[in-house]
């Protein structure tokens, strides 16, 4: 009896999701991965995100049970790109609740059909580019003790993330199933390629810049001719005797400017030779060794432990410092 009245009302006015419902979904989608499990992965979090929709559209226990059941199926994608899918599913549920012929299979297959391709976009952009680039930028500041580093990281990341979740969810809700056509239009591929170019470029910058490898082993010690170096011993004697004159000072300064060697013996280390080839050669080579190991499916943790061992060994043998 009561149900019949409600149904009539729904048909007259139409049962629609409010902006408040969409906001609630947006906040709940933050917890998409809370109950991540090996059986159906993000299924509980997905149903949790759909709760405001189900609550608005279905009033009877049976309808709600059926809706919850179809949203507890297997689901897994990148946690942020789940938002446009949520939007689409909200639109579909709304149409279904208002009498459109949409069966459970349709709702499920849209979900499953979108999660794969979207994860393929979300992973390289968010985990592969934005977080490493932003993280490296902020970490560089943090390593010199600047509190601004963590603050920038946290704020920039979360503003971008929250805006992305909201606008893509709204986009999905407005476009409904049309969104699949829109996303197929090459835009996603463009975005992924563009982001990857930026990411690869920045990685190229970071590998030599923020990797410290110093090889202090001495290759050669050359005794320099008088006048070809800054005579630090003579300078020290002069200063200690108190007879430092203006000419000596100007000689020393011009010597420094001409990049003359300090002291009579020019020491060339392995590091100096490497730097003459191109700065950052050793980190580059090491990166390729690690990349090769990763492609051989060696676990990153094994590689990290291996490198710690290499570091200890190289230090003990005096190769690195």
């Amino acid at each position: 009896m009561n149900d019949e009245v409600q149904e009539v009302q729904a048909q007259q006015t139409g049962n629609h999701l409010t902006k408040g419902d969409r906001r609630a979904t947006w906040w709940r989608s933050t917890f998409l991965q809370a109950a991540w499990n090996y059986e159906r992965m993000q299924n509980v979090g997905w149903a949790y995100s759909m709760v405001p929709t189900i609550k608005r559209l279905y009033k009877t226990k049976e309808d709600r049970a059926a809706a919850l059941k179809r949203h507890l199926e297997f689901f897994n994608t990148h946690p942020y790109v789940a938002s446009p899918i949520l939007g689409v599913e909200m639109a579909m549920e709304e149409q279904k609740a208002n009498g459109a012929e949409i069966d459970d299979d349709a709702i499920n297959s849209v979900k499953v059909g979108m999660m794969g391709p979207l994860a393929g976009v979300g992973d390289p952009i968010w985990w592969g580019t934005v977080r490493p680039v932003l993280g490296a930028f902020a970490a560089g500041m943090a390593q010199s003790g600047q509190i601004l580093g963590p603050i920038i990281f946290f704020l920039v990341w979360n503003i971008m993330r929250m805006a992305f979740l909201w606008y893509t969810q709204e986009l999905g809700y407005r476009e409904g199933t049309n969104i699949t056509e829109n996303l197929g239009g090459g835009m996603m591929q463009k975005l992924t390629t563009g982001a990857s170019i930026l990411g690869m470029f920045i990685m190229g910058v970071l590998v030599p810049r923020w990797t410290t490898m110093n090889f202090p082993m001495v290759i050669s010690e050359v005794k320099l001719q008088k006048g070809g170096y800054i005579d630090t011993n003579a300078l020290a004697t002069q200063i200690n005797n108190g007879n430092l004159d203006a000419k000596t000072i100007s000689d020393v300064v011009s010597g420094i400017q001409a990049k003359q060697n300090l002291g009579a013996v020019k020491i060339t280390t392995v590091q100096d030779t490497l730097n003459q080839l191109i700065p950052g050669l050793a980190p580059l080579l090491l990166m390729f060794v690690v990349l090769w190991l990763l492609r051989k499916n060696v676990s990153p943790i094994v590689i990290i432990f291996g490198l710690f061992a290499v570091g200890i060994l190289a230090y003990a043998l005096g190769i690195m410092a």
């Binding site: 809370a34 499990n37 309808d63 507890l72 992973d123 592969g128 946290f154 563009g194 990349l291 570091g311």
Partner: protein, 270 residues
């Protein structure tokens, strides 16, 4: 006592975000900074956070694969560095690695345990109980929080004494060697990111970045601008994106001529 309370609270937050991956409380640069703040050694926390962040750059959960766990690594390591134990940053970094593995094992455990909760959710669904679903989701989330909070409490209770004694027993050559390794261990993170993105098409951009990095006047912001410009120019010139519909390539200023471009369509709608 107060600082210990906040450390545990932050560890709980980091544990929850370790699975959610949303706010990034689990990332070393955030977690270590907060722990440092709670212990009154903000600067040390920030420095450790920056150092560990470089290590964790490539740790990402893709699909069902579980990466080394940044949450446990950064929380416990930051507590040891900025708390009463006063461990050095390079030692903190070395400690972080085994902790990351321990955290990884723990999250795999919780993710398996949560399978049971899924079946509870099924039962709640049959009853049509929306609250039941909420409760299951939040229970699972709390388990992930406890995954980091409980080990942290254990470390706090054990205290600085045993930790320091253990660290002092390590010979000099090991600690100095670890510091050396700490300088170059970050390449693993870079390699993981590169491994995920690299295609033959993209390698030239990597080498261009490598060559330009020698110019120390160009800081990272300048490098970011160069990278962005490269990406935009590439997208405009690449034949791959200039097939049938290239009307959007004039950028957002193009206006009327760009009806076919979804980016423009979205921008115009807002």
């Amino acid at each position: 006592m107060v600082s210990a309370f906040f450390v545990v609270l932050i560890s709980f937050l980091a544990g929850m975000d370790g699975i959610l991956d949303q706010f990034q409380f689990q990332q070393p640069i955030v977690a270590a900074t907060l722990i440092g703040l709670a212990n009154g050694h903000l600067t040390e926390g920030v420095i450790l956070g920056g150092t560990l962040q470089m290590l964790a750059l490539g740790w990402m959960n893709i699909g069902a694969a579980v990466a080394p766990d940044a949450a446990l690594a950064s929380v416990v390591s930051a507590y040891l560095v900025t708390g009463p134990a006063q461990v050095s940053v390079s030692e903190g970094m070395a400690i972080a690695v085994p902790l990351a593995i321990a955290g990884q094992v723990l999250t795999i455990g919780v993710r398996t345990l949560t399978v049971m909760l899924t079946h509870v959710a099924d039962k709640q669904a049959e009853k049509g109980s929306l609250r039941g679903i909420d409760a299951v989701n939040m229970t699972a989330l709390s388990l992930q929080g406890l995954r980091i909070a409980i080990p942290t409490i254990i470390v706090i209770v054990v205290g600085a004494g045993p930790v320091n004694a253990a660290l002092n027993a390590i010979p000099d050559v090991i600690t100095k060697g670890l510091a050396v390794a700490g300088g170059f261990i970050v390449v693993v993170g870079y390699a993981m990111v590169i491994n995920m993105m690299a295609t033959p098409e993209l390698w030239p951009f990597f080498f261009l970045g490598f060559a330009l990095s020698a110019i120390s006047e160009l800081n990272l912001i300048a490098m970011g601008i160069i990278g962005l410009v490269l990406a935009l120019v590439y997208l405009q010139l690449s034949p791959r994106f200039n097939g049938g519909d290239d009307s959007g390539n004039g950028g957002q200023g193009g206006g009327s001529g760009s009806k076919g471009d979804p980016v423009d369509a979205i921008l115009n709608n807002y």
